[in-house]
Every structure is written in structure tokens, then in C-alpha cells.
């Protein structure tokens, strides 16, 4: 077969030919037996936990759930411990807070059938087209002055666009993320015809040179870099495995990898500026987990019904997430818009409002001024 279309045609035929809808003897009885003794959930609880396939209205003012209360209690405890530490001289006061700058995102442009890159202020104003389609995976540099894309770098105002050599030893170099000092990029390398090259590579952010290989997927899948730790020693990434996507961490110095959690259909993760948390999307929720795999915590987006969410990315000051989300309401269309919210799952703010357009690939940078 020489054309992609052939694969699609034969795939349809194959599914049609092999789909077996036979109901086994006793299967229905087994289902009814398994359900007969069970109570249905109360409607309010089922609506919260069930998948959103209705067109009912959303609620931005959801009361705090148990995890939210637990988070508040933990924060209060941390506050007390910190206050005691500061007054006794055990802790040093934190440095002056950074100022949150623009958000960068990709938007699907139907006319080009591909993605263009935009920036917008955190209050939703000042939207600016940085790079027209086709381009992918924008990531703001640590100083907020540049944007890395697949595979190259451009100034945040769209000037001085430099595309780097797109291949290295048979691997196509694609989406990437900045090191904390801004000097290196962790890049996804892949080749669907030779998956032995699939893994994460490191390259200079100035010119894409000095490429070295960091990870090897080994599962015929992809390693997709998510975010560097603030100390620059580790990178969180998503690894395709036979059982699905998993969150992994690699040591930049020696390439040693370890599995952190299973993240079915999750994104590649964002590292909090204080280095304490990695945040990923799992289904309709965000999950925060310590880099050592402990402290697994779910943060619910404060919307009752969601078709899907992507991201998240920590704000530079670590207080908020930026992410994309698709709501089921007809008045909002079926496309994702960009939102921010506090990391405790409150104070949802809608940044873009484009019912006919789809936004994704979100990242949040510092104010470079």
C-alpha cells in the first residue's frame, strides 16, 4: 500500500469485517445480576462524577469539594509552619515574586488546515499573531523574550524567526521545552519508520546545535518532553508504553529515567516554579504530584460539565494554571478556549472566547520588562 488513504479504506473494511457484535450466552444476565443489587447514585453526585454528555448549564460557583477543603487545610498548615520558620529564623524569606507575562497558545486555522501561534495577556487582552500556520508547540523562554516552536526559536513579537536543522541521526526533531537557564532545549525526536530513534534529545537554543540524545523510548512509542525542573536537573516527560501514556522523569546529567504515574490520555506535564509539584491533565481533572511520586492530588476544574481539558501550565508565580477546555454548551461551540484558574481549583477566568476556533498548546511566561 502506497497511500495513507489505502490504509484508511482497508481499515474501515477490516473493522466492518471483523466487528463481532455477538452477545454471549448469559452475558446480559450477568450484567443485570451485577447491577440488580446496586444502588444508583444520587443525581447530584452522579452529575459530578459522570462523564458530561448533556447540554445542561455549567456552574462556575461550585461549592468546595472535600479535596479542596483538604488543600485549604494543608495550605493553612503550611502557612503556620512557614510563619513559625520565618519568625524563628529557620526559613529565609522568599525572593521577590515574578510578574506573570503573556500566555502563548496555538490556534487551529481552518483555511490553512494547521496551527498558528498567538500570544495574549493574562486578562485576555492584546491578542497577537506571532507566527502564521503551519507551526506547532510554542513554549515561552524563561526570560519571556523568545518562543520555541517545532523546531526553532522566534522572538515573542514574531521577529527573528530561526528554524533549526529538523533531523538528527534519522530522528525528526519536533516539540520542545526550555531549560531554566534558557540555553538548551529538550526536544522530542521521532521517526515512524525507525522507532529506535524515538526519544528526547537536547540541543542548544541559540542555533539547534550540539544535539545529544537523552532518552530511548524502547516501546515503539514516543517520549514527549513536558517541562524541566526549576533546578535544571530533571525533565518530566510522557512516555508511550504498551499500556498507554505514562508520566516519567529523566535525570539530565546521566539520562536515568523513572516512572512516576500512569496518565492515560494526559499531557506531558508542567513543573511548578518552586519545584515541588508536577501538574498534568487526567481526564477532566488536573493532577498534582510531587517529583518523587508522592502527594498525588486531584484539582477539579470548577465547571460541572466539561468535554475536555488540556495543559495545564503553571503561571510563572506558581499561583495559577493556564489550560484549554472544551465545554459542551451549544452557545460556546464545541471548540476549546483558554482559561486560567488558581492552583486550588478556584477563580476560573476565561481568556479566549472563540466558539468557532480551537485553541491548545498553552504556555505561560514571565513579563520580560
Amino acid at each position: 500500500m502506497n497511500a495513507q488513504r489505502d490504509v484508511e479504506l482497508f481499515l474501515r473494511a477490516q473493522f466492518e469485517a471483523t466487528a463481532d457484535a455477538t452477545v454471549l450466552d448469559g452475558q446480559i444476565d450477568a450484567v443485570l445480576s451485577a447491577t440488580a443489587g446496586r444502588r444508583q447514585q444520587p443525581a447530584w453526585l452522579a452529575a459530578l462524577r459522570s462523564y458530561p454528555m448533556t447540554t445542561t448549564t455549567r456552574s462556575f460557583g461550585r461549592p468546595l469539594s472535600t479535596p479542596a477543603w483538604a488543600l485549604l487545610m494543608i495550605l493553612a498548615l503550611l502557612f503556620v509552619i512557614t510563619a513559625v520558620g520565618v519568625t524563628t529564623g529557620t526559613f529565609r524569606l522568599p525572593p521577590a515574586p515574578v510578574v506573570n507575562g503573556p500566555i502563548v497558545f496555538g490556534r487551529y486555522v481552518a483555511a490553512a488546515d494547521d496551527t498558528a501561534v498567538f500570544t495574549v495577556r493574562p486578562d485576555g487582552s492584546g491578542e497577537h499573531l506571532v507566527i502564521p500556520a503551519p507551526i506547532e508547540c510554542p513554549q515561552l523562554s524563561p526570560d519571556g523574550r523568545k518562543i520555541a516552536v517545532a523546531f526553532g526559536v522566534v522572538n515573542v513579537d514574531g521577529s527573528d524567526r530561526r528554524m533549526f536543522p529538523g533531523t538528527f541521526q534519522g530522528a525528526t526533531l519536533g516539540c520542545n521545552t526550555w531549560s531554566p537557564d534558557g540555553r538548551r532545549l529538550a526536544v522530542e525526536g521521532f521517526n515512524d519508520k525507525d522507532r529506535t530513534v524515538n526519544g528526547i534529545y537536547l540541543a542548544d537554543s541559540a542555533d539547534g546545535a550540539n544535539v545529544v540524545r537523552l532518552t530511548t523510548n524502547g516501546n515503539d512509542g514516543n517520549d514527549i518532553p513536558g517541562d524541566w525542573s526549576p533546578d535544571g536537573q530533571h525533565i518530566a516527560f510522557v512516555r508511550d508504553t504498551p499500556s498507554g501514556s505514562e508520566l516519567w522523569i529523566v535525570d539530565v546529567a546521566d539520562g536515568a529515567t523513572r516512572r512516576l504515574a500512569s496518565v492515560p490520555f494526559g499531557g506531558p506535564g508542567s513543573w511548578s516554579p518552586d519545584g515541588q509539584w508536577i501538574a498534568i491533565v487526567v481526564g477532566r481533572d488536573f493532577v498534582m504530584v510531587h517529583p518523587d511520586g508522592t502527594g498525588y492530588r486531584t484539582v477539579r476544574i470548577p465547571v460541572t460539565l466539561i468535554n475536555g481539558a488540556g495543559g495545564p501550565s503553571f503561571s510563572p508565580d506558581g499561583t495559577r494554571f493556564v489550560f484549554n477546555m472544551t465545554l459542551p454548551e451549544s452557545d460556546k461551540g464545541e471548540n476549546a478556549d483558554i482559561y486560567t484558574m488558581k492552583v486550588d481549583g478556584t477563580d476560573l477566568v476565561q481568556i479566549t472566547n472563540t466558539p468557532s476556533e480551537n485553541e491548545y498548546f498553552v504556555d505561560w511566561g514571565i513579563d520580560p520588562k
Binding site: 500500500m1 495513507q4 490504509v7 484508511e8 482497508f10 481499515l11 477490516q14 473493522f15 466492518e16 469485517a17 471483523t18 466487528a19 463481532d20 457484535a21 455477538t22 452477545v23 454471549l24 452475558q27 446480559i28 450484567v31 443485570l32 447491577t35 446496586r38 444508583q40 444520587p42 453526585l45 452522579a46 452529575a47 459522570s50 462523564y51 454528555m53 448533556t54 447540554t55 445542561t56 496555538g106 487551529y108 496551527t115 515512524d192 519508520k193 522507532r195 515503539d220 512509542g221 514516543n222 504498551p242 499500556s243 498507554g244 501514556s245 500512569s262 492515560p264 490520555f265 481526564g283 468535554n307 475536555g308 488540556g310 472544551t326 464545541e334 471548540n335 476549546a336 480551537n358 491548545y360
Partner: protein, 184 residues
């Protein structure tokens, strides 16, 4: 699917739920078997999905969306089923499902056989997006809705799954090198 049955089942009518089960279990069996490639795992996934559906039905406010909602529960159940199987030390086999029923032409049979082996080489996640798109014929946006992901993500996952399938098929097409070729 009769919305009245969904409304009755949502109100706790188990007989109505039984009729919903009877009316949809065949379709769900087919989906689960295509995704999981294993009859036993598929049967368990379908049952788990129905148990979840019975408990969660009061949360389904639009009865017209029962089929899509049920499909989504099944997809999640298939993913859970696969993860559970991976956690067990004894891995479930992945036998090829039914022999193709349309293979009366030798060339077509060969290609279909390639596709079949290619599908076995994909991950559950990859097969899921392909089943949604090419078996259920869901538009990209609807498939994304079932999986709870943005349409752009769905589009790229379908693309990647097709590339993976294509790569497997191409690998099968590649002639086996002779010993002389191997030494070059």
C-alpha cells in the same frame, strides 16, 4: 434507543435498564473487542461499563445522548481493563479476533491480514481513536467529545495512530534482506 427507557432507567427502573442493555450490548461488544482484541477482557469491560452506567444514570440529563454517553463509559472501561491486565503478572494474550469474512480475493486477503497484525501492534489508546473514527464513523469533534479531549488533540492522535499502523504495514512489505545485503 428509546429515550423513554432511559428516563425510566434513570429513575431506578431496572426492567427498563434491562431493555437498554439488551438493545446496546451487541454494539458495545463489537467496540470493546475491536479495541481490546480479547474476548474475555472485552466482556469484562462491557459489564463494568454497564455497572457504571446503572450507578451514574441519574447524572445523565439528556436521554438522547445515551448511546454516546454509554460509548464513553465503555472506552474508559476498556482503558481501565487494559491497565488492570498490565498490573497482573500474567499478561493476557492478544489473539487475532475473527477471521476476515470478506477475504475471497488473495491480494485483499493479504492486505487485510497485514492490517489485522498491524492493529495488534498498536496500543489500546491508538486502537481506540481508530475504532471511534473508522468503525463508529464519528466526526473528529464527536470522537474528541467521547474521549474528553480537544478536537486538535483527537486529530493528531488519529494521525499518529494511522502513521503507526502504516509503519507496521510497510515493515511487513519490506523484503527480507539477503545475507549479502545484511553485511553491507
Amino acid at each position: 434507543m428509546d429515550p423513554e427507557l432511559v428516563i425510566l432507567a434513570r429513575g431506578g427502573d431496572h426492567d427498563a435498564f434491562a431493555r437498554l442493555v439488551a438493545g446496546s450490548i451487541g454494539r458495545l461488544n463489537a467496540i470493546a473487542r475491536l479495541i481490546l482484541r480479547d474476548y474475555t477482557m472485552a466482556e469484562d469491560a462491557v459489564q463494568d461499563a454497564f455497572v457504571d452506567a446503572w450507578r451514574s444514570l441519574p447524572g445523565l440529563r439528556d436521554p438522547e445522548r445515551f448511546q454516546a454517553w454509554m460509548t464513553r463509559l465503555l472506552i474508559r472501561s476498556c482503558q481501565d481493563s487494559r491497565r488492570r491486565a498490565r498490573r497482573r503478572t500474567i499478561e493476557m494474550p492478544l489473539p487475532s479476533i475473527d477471521e476476515p469474512k470478506v477475504a475471497d480475493h488473495q491480494a485483499t486477503f493479504a492486505v487485510i491480514d497485514q492490517i489485522e497484525r498491524g492493529l495488534n501492534g498498536l496500543t489500546v489508546d491508538q486502537r481506540t481513536v481508530l475504532v471511534l473514527t473508522y468503525y463508529l464513523d464519528l466526526p473528529i469533534a464527536e470522537g474528541a467529545s467521547v474521549l474528553g479531549i480537544p478536537t486538535g488533540t483527537m486529530k493528531s492522535r488519529v494521525h499518529r495512530a494511522l502513521l503507526a499502523l502504516r509503519a507496521t504495514v510497510d515493515a511487513d512489505d519490506r523484503p527480507i534482506p539477503t545475507p549479502a545485503e545484511r553485511t553491507i
